[in-house]
Symmetry: C2
């Protein structure tokens, strides 16, 4: 794009507060932008910042024509109105795809979302690129967060899987999961999904991340997933690791959404 029209895609990131996992995610996203030739702008705001400060940062990114994607790193500190803030992101720059209008279009047949939320898109991309058939297969999604579980369950349905959605109030989640050809888990409960939860040959995508102390790691902690990885390896035909599985794919999809957004603006097909 830079060579053909002399412009590059631009991503703006807003990070509020000092959560170390959020800092890691944002750092990785910025680094990935640099490597991919995407311009990134970052606004860091203190934990106790006012809603107005964030809205004003958002508004300037919304108006900035060199910015094609805006990302508000979640979760936000509790005193802030997450819904109000996310709704302020211009629909055309909502590369996370969290706007309810976008989510509704993802859910509805015959409609097209402007952006597919990155984690969901990353999970399906992993399946497609690994040659896993989705159509007609039984898929279980564990967790129903707006960020991961919900959009993944909707996107699996768009690919014609038969989807069941499990959550904390589901009874016998192991029995239901054991029927699935594809398992996506996104709850952040370490070792929730044991080997006996899985059907032999199932494909398992672990979206869960839970930080545990690890003095030997560069930043003093490391992330672990929802799946008991060693047990799952013995039963499943494929399991994504944490870290190194869905995380990098999510970042890749963020870049892909930002690039798509820039292409739309500059009318490049």
């Amino acid at each position: 794009m830079k060579e053909s029209i002399g412009k590059v895609p631009g991503l703006a990131v807003i990070l509020v507060g000092q959560r170390r996992d959020s800092q890691t995610y944002v750092r990785n996203k910025i680094k990935a932008c640099e490597e991919a030739g995407i311009k990134s702008l970052m606004t860091e705001l203190p934990e106790d910042c006012t809603e107005d400060k964030i809205l004003s940062a958002l508004s300037s990114f919304n108006e900035n024509p060199s910015i094609h994607g805006i990302l508000v790193q979640l979760p936000l500190p509790k005193h802030l109105d997450e819904e109000k803030i996310l709704n302020m992101v211009s629909l055309e720059k909502d590369v996370d795809g969290f706007n309810p209008l976008n989510m509704g279009n993802l859910a509805m047949r015959g409609r097209e979302p402007v952006f597919i939320p990155c984690t969901a898109k990353g999970c399906i991309e992993l399946l497609l690129r690994s040659g896993v058939e989705i159509m007609g297969k039984k898929a279980v999604v564990i967790g129903r967060s707006n960020i991961a579980g919900l959009p993944t369950s909707l996107l699996l349905q768009r690919h014609h899987a038969t989807v069941s959605i499990l959550h904390a109030l589901s009874k016998n989640p192991d029995q239901i999961t054991r029927q699935a050809d594809i398992v996506v888990t996104a709850v952040g409960v370490p070792n929730l999904v044991r080997g006996h939860w899985l059907k032999p040959g199932a494909v398992v995508i672990d979206v869960g991340t839970y930080p545990i102390e690890d003095p030997s790691s560069e930043f003093g902690y490391r992330l672990i997933g929802d799946v008991c990885y060693e047990e799952a390896l013995g039963v499943a035909s494929a399991v994504t690791p944490v870290p190194g599985g869905v995380g990098p794919m999510t970042i890749a999809m963020l870049l892909s959404n930002t690039l798509d957004s820039a292409k739309r603006v500059y009318d490049i097909t």
Copy 2:
């Protein structure tokens, strides 16, 4: 409302073409409005009418302060852009709840839709009023239409059921359905759900409607559902009939949404 503030809720209905099932539905809705003291306005347009004609009718209803709900009877003739037309209905008057922004808010945790789509709301109301527990129960929704299957699956999730969504490409739908405590079917395939599809004691809600010729009926046809009713009665603990089950509840919810909308406008709690 009429006695307290001298105003009544108003519902506008747009019917395009001559489909006899649509005519029946609209007739029933208008009649229900009359009985409930809701003012109804109806615009009938010919099968071959232009999009502009419909948009102009919609626009006048959007601006009419005595109209609190607007309903475009679906399906529309094929030459019309259903998405574009439905998106023109003001969000505050979209008593059918089919706007994607509304659907997104129904899907997302922590968000509130302005209106819950009538069929879905009717199904859940039937369950609640019959004392059927939803939380933690296994529910199967057969069909994923924007009108019925999708919003019902989302609303069941809001009530914390463990939901599986089946469709034409699902394998072994009988086996999956047989695990469910609550079955909602909404596909329009007569006798799809047989007795052996059901778990003993399951609660079955039949949203399906399929018109068959019946010279003995007032209008020359009658509607039948997705469920093999006689067989289901022997297995399930409860089965809604067609007609007379979900249909009247859907209409009741339409009136309820229209009333809620008027209350919002006139600031009555």
